[in-house]
């Protein structure tokens, strides 16, 4: 419970700090942001369209391999705690698990998922 309260307290303080920066910065400056000021930075050129778009994410397949490893991480947390009690058996088990996942990396490598395709 104290942990949750602390986290929310820290979050609240950070939000307040950011708000404080905003109020501290010149209120006497023009508050109104005009249209030409709002144009996104392109070094003096005028964009034709909005920037938000269906972005072609080149590393999409890599993220799938990443998800596999992240799930594996969930098993590693409890594994780390009991590792010393369980002894060499635990080491062998995690070794096998990682080997299987590594085959995924090798396969992905062959398929070129770490390139910008």
């Amino acid at each position: 419970m104290t942990t949750l309260i602390t986290i929310f307290l820290v979050l609240g303080l950070s939000v307040l700090f950011t708000a404080g920066l905003r109020t501290a910065s010149g209120t006497d400056l023009a508050d109104h942001i005009t249209n030409p000021q709002q144009r996104p930075v392109l070094g003096g050129s005028d964009p034709k369209t909005h920037a938000w778009q269906r972005f072609h994410v080149r590393y999409y397949t890599m993220t799938l391999v990443f998800v596999a490893f992240e799930m594996e991480m969930m098993f590693m947390y409890p594994w780390a705690v009991v590792f010393v009690e369980e002894g060499p058996k635990a080491l062998a088990e995690m070794g096998m698990f990682l080997t299987i996942l590594s085959v995924g990396i090798l396969y992905g490598w062959r398929e070129g998922i770490f390139r910008w395709e």
Partner: protein, 304 residues
């Protein structure tokens, strides 16, 4: 320590850390580029200069997320620092699973940096945001492997136990591969040097290209806060945190944090950044196997 003084210590530690980090950054930069000295007050001058300018927004931006990205990045850095024990059994957030909480903080950084680049609706910031995710995700795997390796001899996911387990021998000696790999994560979390794929020069500042005034000041402060939080975590995991003779524990922690901050800043100014696809391959094909080896060695040492 009770809660209120602990929180005050935390905020002081963070504030002083940010100030020193800003000076260190300037000192390294000037030293390498061959320029003159730095005033110890220069961070305050820079902050005042940022705050003296108007805070601009863009056409139809995502205002809420722009704000939350900056505030959230700072909050995540602070929470990272909060799990660090300042002395035996004292951490502002003292839980049995503090390594897991820090892992969650690491992954939220990717989300917040992405949102920071997404929210202005500006092409260069958007490219920075998407590109950062490609590196921010796999680099996190390295850090989790080395953190798990550090947890093995402690038989606990509690950072206090991890520090206590280094009473005889620091992890930097017991697990020599751990700290170098973890420092790479630090470069990525703080958007620095070879891992600065979000705010880099080829995008004229990337996700922060549209930040002016208070937003720019806030983002810079949050980046430095993350450097302090990360360095304190790394100092606790690999350099024995508060452990040390004579001086009080928090002083030892501060000294070790400072050293690691200097190392991260130095690396960020001295190492070249490669194009993102090349880095992606390097992480998966080279650095990740090294992290496996680190885990294996740590496991063998823990059993020996």
């Amino acid at each position: 320590m009770t809660f209120a003084p602990a929180l005050t210590t935390l905020i002081l530690f963070l504030a002083i850390g940010i100030w020193i980090a800003a000076i260190l950054d300037a000192v390294f930069y000037r030293r390498i580029s061959g320029q003159g000295g730095v005033s110890v007050l220069s961070p305050f001058y820079a902050a005042a200069a940022h705050l003296s300018r108007q805070r601009l927004t863009t056409e139809a931006p995502d205002r809420l997320n722009w704000y939350l990205a900056i505030a959230g990045y700072l909050a995540i850095a602070t929470i990272g620092l909060a799990v660090v024990p300042f002395g035996p059994e004292t951490a502002v957030i003292g839980i049995k699973t503090s390594v897991v909480l820090w892992g969650a903080c690491e992954s939220l950084v990717v989300v917040l940096v992405f949102l920071h680049g997404w929210s202005p609706n500006s092409p260069l910031a958007l490219i920075g945001a998407y590109r950062y995710v490609a590196i921010g995700l796999p680099i996190m795997l390295l850090s989790m492997f080395v953190l798990i390796a550090a947890a093995l001899p402690a038989r606990s996911l509690d950072l206090r136990d991890i520090v206590a387990s280094q009473e005889g021998l620091w992890n930097i000696i017991r697990q020599p591969l751990g700290l170098p790999l973890f420092l790479l994560l630090g470069l990525s979390l703080t958007l620095r040097g070879p891992f600065d794929y979000a705010d880099s020069a080829d995008l004229a500042g990337g996700t922060s290209v549209e930040d002016s005034g208070a937003n720019r000041a806030g983002w810079q402060v949050a980046r430095l806060a993350m450097l302090v939080g990360f360095s304190a975590i790394a100092a606790s995991t690999f350099l024995g945190g508060y452990l040390g003779p004579i001086l009080p524990g928090i002083v030892w922690l501060a000294i070790k944090t400072l050293i690691l901050m200097a190392v991260v800043i130095g690396l960020s100014h001295l190492l070249a950044r490669m194009p993102v696809a090349r880095m992606l391959g390097l992480i998966w094909k080279f650095l990740l196997p090294i992290a496996f080896v680190d885990l294996l060695l740590a496991g063998l040492v823990a059993l020996a």
